[in-house]
Every structure is written in C-alpha cells, then in structure tokens.
C-alpha cells in the first residue's frame, strides 16, 4: 500500500532530515514510527499527504508515485488519507458534529449521508452524545477522539497519526491506542508516530525506528 524507496529530505537550514529511508507498509497493517524528537518522524509523515516533498527517492501510495503528483491532484490524494495531529487541529467555532463532517463536506457528500456517517464515526469513538458541544468544552482525550472521528469518517485507506497521545496522560493514551487497535482489527491500515515506547510495547506491531534521519529498525 505504501512504499518508501531511498527517500531523502533535506532542509536548507537544518540539513538532511531523512536519508535513504526504505520501507513498505502492507494493506491492513498497523505500524509504529518511533525515534527521538528531531529524528525525522514528523517529516516522514508529512511526505505522505504531500505537505512536504522529498528531495530524492520515490514514495508509492497504492502503486502511484506521489512524490511527483501535481499540485492540483494533492487534495484528492489527501482525501484517501486520515490525518490525526498531536494538537488535534479542531475548529473551535464549530460543533463536534460539524468538525467531523468537514471531510465529507469537502468531498461533496449529501446531507443525509453526511449525518449518517458522522454519527457512525462519533459512535465508534464514544462521543455520540456530545455532537452538539464545541471542542473547547471537551477534555483533551475527548478532543483527540473528535480528531480521530474526523480522520475516519470518510473511510480513508490509510490513517496517519503524528504523536496522537503526545498531549494526553497515560490512561487516556492507552484508550486512544486501544481505539486504533480496534480500527486495525476491522482492516484499517495505520502508521502511528510516537516516542512513547512503553505504550508501543503493549502492542505486537511492527515498529519503525528512526535515528538521525536513518531507518535503523523495522525497515
């Protein structure tokens, strides 16, 4: 499903952040991406939705080289992905329902279909009864669940999570990870960046380890 072939990314101010990264992620797999902060986890994740482009190498997503797609095609690629952020990135002036509905609104779903899917997604993350609340009225764990509902509502083929539990306490973090595991059990492919090794060790999943821009484990 996702394949990195000798991918390198260099920034003019901080030098080479990723060098010759090679790995492959199979459909239905759940993998962790670890490493110290600054090891290049976030950069690697940014290459997949083309927030950044690599300087060298090739990235194949479902067989297509996404490092070379045009700017106009980027939105359509992103619609096949579910992005989850450390800081949730919710819109504070919209209700939980409207936040989760955003990807469907963008993709042009009908109102009925949108409502049905949003409620299904909120049900999965256990927030069905809070659909009319605003994000700031929710706890951190609940806000991240809204973020997760938004990432799964359009049934993406790959979910990318960048430090999804970075701002949460251990109990809530474990709950979020369990949620990811549940998705994986029904066939969702996930790539989760996290530096929380204790949490990762609880799951029997492949772990990709980055060290100073090089993939040293799991590739």
């Amino acid at each position: 499903m996702l394949q990195f072939i000798n991918v390198s990314k260099r920034y003019s101010d901080s030098g080479e952040v990723l060098s010759n990264v090679c790995f492959q992620l199979e459909k239905g797999e759940m993998a962790f991406l670890t490493g110290h902060s600054g090891a290049g986890k976030s950069t690697l994740l940014k290459l997949i939705p083309v927030i950044e482009r690599p300087n060298r190498g090739q990235i194949l997503f479902e067989g297509k080289p996404i490092n070379r797609i045009s700017k106009r095609q980027v939105p359509y690629l992103r619609r096949q992905l579910g992005l989850i952020f450390q800081d949730y990135r919710l819109l504070h002036d919209r209700t939980v329902f409207d936040n989760v509905a955003l990807p469907l609104l963008i993709a042009g779903f009908s109102q009925q279909e949108t409502a049905r899917r949003v409620r299904a997604a909120l049900d999965k993350v256990g927030l069905l009864r809070k659909e009319k609340r605003f994000p700031l009225a929710l706890s951190g764990g609940e806000q991240q669940r809204v973020g997760i509902a938004r990432a799964i509502v359009h049934k993406p083929s790959l979910i990318l999570a960048d430090e999804p539990t970075g701002n949460l306490d251990p109990g809530l973090s474990a709950e979020i990870m369990d949620l990811f595991k549940e998705f994986n059990q029904v066939g969702v492919t996930l790539l989760i960046a996290s530096h929380n090794l204790d949490l990762i060790s609880r799951f029997a999943c492949r772990t990709l380890k980055l060290q100073q821009g090089q993939l040293v484990e799991g590739g």
Binding site: P75, R78, L91, P103, I106, R150
Partner: protein, 277 residues
C-alpha cells in the same frame, strides 16, 4: 461598513453622470427655444419692419419671424426692466424695431446656424443680429469635458472598490486562517476554499451597487423640486430624468463584477501562503 464604502465610491461617479446627463438634456430642450433677434436699422418704420418679417417667414429654415414694433419694445422694456419712470422722461423712442426669429427645430448644427446668421446680417435692413444661445454651445463644450472626467472618476473609484472588497476579504481570510489550513490538510481544493469568498465578494458588490443606486435616486429626488422650478423659469417642459434601467443594470452589474474580481484576486494570492507545512 464595506458595503457603505462601496456604495459611496460608486455614488460619486454615478450621480455625476446623472447630473451631466440631465444638464445635456436640459440644454437641448432649451436649445429648441433658440432665439435670434434681428435689430432693424433705427430709421426703418414699423411697416418696413413688417415686410422684413413677412419675407423671413417664408425662409425655409425659419419657423416664425415676428415683428416687435418700436412701441411694443418700449412697452416691454418699461414693464420688465423697472426703468419705467426713467423711460417716461424720454421725449422720443430710442428703440429700433426688432424681428424675433425662431429657427426650425431641425436647425441644430452650429455651422448651419452660423450660415443663417450670415444671411440675416447681409440683409440691407439689418442693423445687427444677436444669437441668444451662444452660451449654450459653450455649455455643451464644458459638459463634454465633464463627461470625459466621469470616465476617469469611474475607473479610479472602481479600482477603489476593488481594493475595498479585496481588503475586507483579506481580513476575513486571516480570521479563518486555521480553518483554511485544516480544510487543505483534509483534502479541500482551492476552488472549494475560494467559493465562499467569491460569494462574499458577490454580496458586497450587489449590496454596494444597490445602495449606490438608492443614494443616487435620493439625490435626484432631493434636486427634483428646485430643478422643476428652474425649468419653469426657462419656460421649458423639462423634467429631471433618473437612472435608466440599462444604467441601473450597468451600475449594479459593474459593482457585482468588481466585488467578485476583488475577492478572486485576494483569495488566489493568499491561498498560496496558506499551504500547510
């Protein structure tokens, strides 16, 4: 606020245009009352004057030629000028007989009028000829200049409207920065993001243009009374004309177009810097 500024910016050239249009129409209705006064030589009698008027009545370019006798002239002067008592003191009538000439309506071109004047001057009975409407031609020239300046004003103030809409949209973009970044991250196309701003541009333009139309109409209503009075003083049936349907369409249409274009430019320009990184 934006709507009001747009309305004011558009009201200025629009009302200026209406003002000139009315002045032109007014002057052309007044021109129909073009009057030539042919002053006969003082030694000529009223009878000789009557014969001149009779001949001139047959002239193809003259509608009416009417003799004002020496006595009638004196009478008019007494009643209009307020010199009544002073004139009483005169022991003879110093006024010549005058033939008042009204050219045919078809005679509007200045060179044709000039030709007729030449013919009248050449008559042996003529002392001198006076055209009462020369100032009208000067007014016409001034109005043409004014009309050109309306075009310049319109272009400048249209640019102003473009900037006002652009600036308002830019602020709105900044307010919704986070929302746009998130929308882009989850697959919104530029077209999707641009659309609501173009709608906003449309409404700013539409409401601004409509308000400008209302302002111009109020302005004209305000002037209607005095202008009717003025027209009466000139003995003209002239009535103030408002913006025509096509002018209204042009005003509101141009305003809408400016709103959309202003929004388009700003959104397209700023969308590039709102790419998520």
């Amino acid at each position: 606020m934006t709507v009001l500024v747009i309305a004011i910016a558009l009201t200025i050239p629009a009302s200026f245009h209406v003002f000139i249009k009315n002045a032109q129409q007014a002057s052309s209705t007044l021109e129909a009352t073009n009057q030539i006064s042919l002053f006969l030589k003082p030694e000529l009698t009223n009878e000789a004057g009557g014969k001149v008027a009779e001949t001139l009545n047959k002239h193809p370019q003259i509608a009416v030629a009417e003799l004002v006798t020496k006595e009638a002239g004196l009478q008019q002067l007494k009643s209009y000028s307020g010199f009544g008592d002073a004139l009483q003191a005169l022991d003879f009538n110093p006024l010549p007989a005058v033939v008042g000439i009204k050219p045919k309506d078809s005679l509007t071109r200045p060179d044709e009028v000039e030709k007729l004047l030449g013919e009248l001057r050449a008559l042996p009975e003529t002392d001198f000829v006076q055209l009462d409407t020369e100032w009208m031609h000067k007014l016409h020239a001034i109005l043409t200049i004014a009309q050109r300046s309306v075009v310049v004003f319109s272009v400048l103030l249209s640019l102003g409207v473009l900037f006002i809409v652009g600036n308002t949209i830019r602020l709105e973009l900044q307010n919704r920065r986070e929302e746009i970044v998130v929308a882009k991250l989850i697959g919104a196309t530029d077209r999707f993001i641009r659309r609501p701003f173009l709608y906003a541009g449309f409404w700013y333009g539409f409401l601004g243009g409509t308000l400008a139309w209302l302002l111009v109409s109020f302005f004209l209503l305000f002037l209607r009374g005095p202008s009717r009075h003025l027209a009466e003083l000139y003995g003209s049936p002239y009535a103030l004309s408002f913006l025509s349907l096509s002018e209204t369409e042009l005003l509101i249409g141009a305003s809408v177009l400016l709103g959309i274009i202003g929004a388009w430019i700003v959104v397209s320009y700023h969308l590039r810097e709102l790419d998520p990184t």
